[in-house]
């Protein structure tokens, strides 16, 4: 099992907290919306990713458990 990040683009309104809390995996585009590294969250960042998910005011930053790593997740 591995953890992957999914951003709900409909819910997201560019608060940008996720990029503050998890700059290792999240950058913001020129309009302030998050661009997330694809693939599994490295184990040492999972706790920070949970925090980012919990603190997202729009509940748009989500963590999913993936059974196997998918090469071309979208």
């Amino acid at each position: 099992m591995s953890t992957v990040i999914k951003v709900n683009p409909v819910a997201c309104t560019a608060y940008g907290y996720c990029a503050e809390l998890l700059p290792e995996l999240v950058t913001l585009d020129e309009w302030g919306y998050p661009i997330v590294e694809r693939g599994a969250v490295p184990p040492h960042l999972v706790e920070l990713a949970r925090r980012a998910a919990k603190d997202c005011p729009r509940r748009a930053f989500l963590l999913r458990q993936a059974a196997t790593e998918v090469g071309s997740s979208t």
Binding site: K6, N8, P9, V10, A11, C12, T13, A14, D29, E30, W31, G32, Y33, I35, L62, R64, T74
Partner: protein, 442 residues
Amino acid sequence: MATATTDSTITTDRAVPGDRSTLLGGWRARHRADLASHLAHHGAPPLPRPGDHAWPPRLAAAVEASGLTGRGGASFPSVTKLRLLASAPGRRTVVVNGMEGEPASAKDKTLLRCAPHLVLDGAELAACAVGASRIVVCVADGDHHSADAVVRAVAERAGTALAPVTVEVKRPPGRYVAGEESALVSWLDGGPAAPGWRPDKGHSLTIGRRATLVHNTETLAHLALVARYGPESFRSRGVPDAPGTTLVTVTGAVEHAGVYEVAMGRSLGDIVHGARPTDEVAAVLTGGFGGSWVPAAALATPYAPGPLAAVGGVVGAGVLVVLARRACGIAETARVARYMAGESAGQCGPCVFGLPAVADDLGQLWRGTVDGGVLARLEARLTAVDGRGACRHPDGVARMARSALRVFTADAAAHASGRPCAFARQPSVLPATVGAIKAGTT
């Protein structure tokens, strides 16, 4: 939504002259087929007797053997959708997607207006195959001609053995993204006509608690032919990887803009030249506004998903817009991008902010009023919008713009250095949409 100017011309390809087992073969153009003439032409659809449990899997097997794929843009195997829904719990609905939000496309309107009973046959057969108790035909709110044809056809069938499942006609708003299947289902469910975010693709759509099958108009008409004439008849046209015929709307710089039924695998050049280009062809926009440009050098390419992909093209919604040599591909691309920016559902930031920014960059490039970084900035913005919406609307714009930079490389470089081509100020080759696009660019 502007109605395409192309829907008055309906032409059947030479490969299918007068052949009754095709969509438009032997059909008299511009006449709505009433029930009597439909039945005289095709005979009754092979609907099941009540309680015949062997029938649904038999129909699914025929659809599978035919190799029919969705004609709405995704080219997804039709049988997969049928089986997914047949195994869904609870009550089910079949939705006929006749929205045709693609401005350059007129194929679904053509079918709904000329052969509504063939589409309804397909819907009834699909409903029986998946055990649905409701059929909803969706026609855009501005498309009165198509809706009238469907309503009259539904009335002719009501109470007969040809309507085992009742049919409703609904009129969702005729916006570009309203025809995206999750947007359509959302609207039918009382929500906005906007796409939903589906992180886990593959689960079925629902209206209320009813599992819902959404099929394009043309797909269902083909299904009705497969059920009648058999998968071998369907596969006797087209190529092994892309069997059957398909409807193509050819428009742009051609004398005979219209809807053509062609066998899959015919060359792009054959199809384009059948519509009589007005001048030497420079490029063709394949798929529609969210499709991609293909250069004239690739006109020998067979019209089918695989070969088209190899030259950067797409079947998409079955649209071919012809650009003549004396025209500006950058200008056309900028107009299309501006239109598409205006058609965003307004939900996802990268689409809401990114598409107008992309259209601004392309507009600068078009006019030659550029700063030094326009091409690099445009590339970065295309990366920033691609794949970042709930639906594929921004992806389509990114694909179309990238293909323009690839196909019109020399033009783009000249425009970027402040030297727009002599044709940049010409009227658009997109007659069906010039009004809508103009509104966005002035």
